[in-house]
Symmetry: C2
Subunit: 341 residues, 2 copies
Amino acid sequence: MQLDERKYIILQAIIRNYLETGEPVGSRTISKYTDLNLSSATIRNEMADLEELGYILQPHTSAGRIPSDKGYRLYVDKMMEEKEREVEERKELLLEKEDKVDHLLKQAAKLLANNTEYAAMVSAPQYHRNKLKFIQLSRVDAQHLLAVIVVEGNVIKNTMLTVEEELSDETLLKLNILLNTHLNGLSMEEINLGMIAALKQQAGIHSEIVAGVIDAVAEAIKADEDLEIYTSGAKNFFKYPELADHERASELITTFEEKQLLTELVQDNLSGDNNTGIQVYIGSETPVAGMKDCSIVTATYELDEGMKGTIGIIGPKRMDYEKVVSNLRLLKNQLDDLYKR
Amino acid sequence: MQLDERKYIILQAIIRNYLETGEPVGSRTISKYTDLNLSSATIRNEMADLEELGYILQPHTSAGRIPSDKGYRLYVDKMMEEKEREVEERKELLLEKEDKVDHLLKQAAKLLANNTEYAAMVSAPQYHRNKLKFIQLSRVDAQHLLAVIVVEGNVIKNTMLTVEEELSDETLLKLNILLNTHLNGLSMEEINLGMIAALKQQAGIHSEIVAGVIDAVAEAIKADEDLEIYTSGAKNFFKYPELADHERASELITTFEEKQLLTELVQDNLSGDNNTGIQVYIGSETPVAGMKDCSIVTATYELDEGMKGTIGIIGPKRMDYEKVVSNLRLLKNQLDDLYKR
DNA sequence: GTTAGCACTCTAACGAATCGAGTGCTAACA
DNA sequence: TGTTAGCACTCGATTCGTTAGAGTGCTAAC
């Protein structure tokens, strides 16, 4: 047996109906819902076939049918194909340009959650070009030095260093020159122990300042390892009864709060790059443990050259995929454009 | 009628029992629970009195009694008095010293939530001494200047400024001296428009750089207006049936996620300073709308001179106040000591 | 002042009956 | 050969009356 045109239309009708109501769909409903002009008996026969093919499920005898993960998958794939062909009209999301990236991204997450009525996440962009660009040591007061470290991509890191006795302007200048001439343009791998030792030796009695600066450099470069993730709309989980029972809700909220569990998602998304940049995980396909009853849709954005991050929506399997995809695409485009002018 | 010793013992027994079980407490239970050696009938009489006095409630006829807010209040006040007299043994919480304050505070929130099994919040300290301490302009590359601004309390703010044409070292030095000599030691109120105009004039063709720096200064000083709050343990709401129904849970989770609603708590806590630094809000006493069914316990910590923040626990009204208070006190002390060595 | 006893109240739990949506199958029809 | 009407059947959800039990308030006796 095979999936012909008519069977797919019926499957689609079942899914569309189920997305709206969340209730199993019966043959009579479909008989009226579609314009196939078929009786419920005929639909029943087709539904039996669809079930045998694995696209739909019966929660129990004498209930209607609900889509299986396989059914959703087919539906989503076909939808994505169609969307591909359509020219997306460029609506604007109300994303105000914020001066701070973290504010911007928090706002983006909130916007997604409010627009879709699902839970939303936004990961801060990861920087992959980690060459040292600039170091500046300045005296703040008698005991304190401020080290400012700028990494390629204009990521800035400050560290306050404490010194025993006040350094003269000349010493400070020397140290600055020493650090900048030797370290600038280097990546972390290139700053090896030998070089550090040589630097310390040249710094003489100020070797511990050099050590402090180098620690700070290491810190600045590895900073992108703990990935910042913003979330919004946790309460939306409660809107869908299939997610709202205590056990599930508790698990979801925890996963959502302990944001590092969502890191999987970002990794998965940034590595596997498909053409559209939109990735749909249905039910058990999701890489996040504890969200097996959900569907997750993600997209990759690129704020500036090489600064890629992930935005995503988490909701019930019966989510409005079209709406979610178009929302994500919209926001992705806007983020992409934001800093590229 | 008045609350005599025996009545209070019975009230205490009711509360203790209710804290454990969450079920209305009957006269028979109390008759056995206490060592007053009274029959259930006597207890019933006393309970009728306690109800008349407003310390306990009956959810419906033929159910046991539960404490009212007034009852809790009395219980907590007496407990706090006793605690006051006791010498607190100084246990250590496993708070590892983190190099970044935000990591430290996130960890603190998690620790509180895990130890108490309630939801926890930690606000980042607010800085109130906002005098400018130090400004440093540096050239990063041909088009970019980095402005580093240090405010008293060692809060650091960076801004990248874009310039049309490269500045000479000499110009840079002049600008640095200009800015530092005129602005250092001043608070925001003292930097008025006249001064800004004068500075710009002195900077000549580089007036827009001065403008950029001053904007950044303003930004750095007002930065503490949007208060950072860390939360943890949202899932713990689900552990207490009286908070876990959909409506309430949804509201709580939302309030907890939209952290700015918790700001009220921080404000309230930092302004009204009582002797112990521990503040207990029971039920409707809480300043946070949407948490009227909860009790909230907060404490103020002081990381460094003038850098005060708030830690707090949010749970059901029948929370284990003793445990919560001692946990908060412990953490408060540890935070207080952390940077004062 | 305390307590035993008793009638009374009210919720939670249980089970039987009923309802109704939906199915699968069969036989008739175009 | 595909479609449809008809029918018996299944099974979850709902309803409703019953029961069990926990707890009360009141009264009378100690």
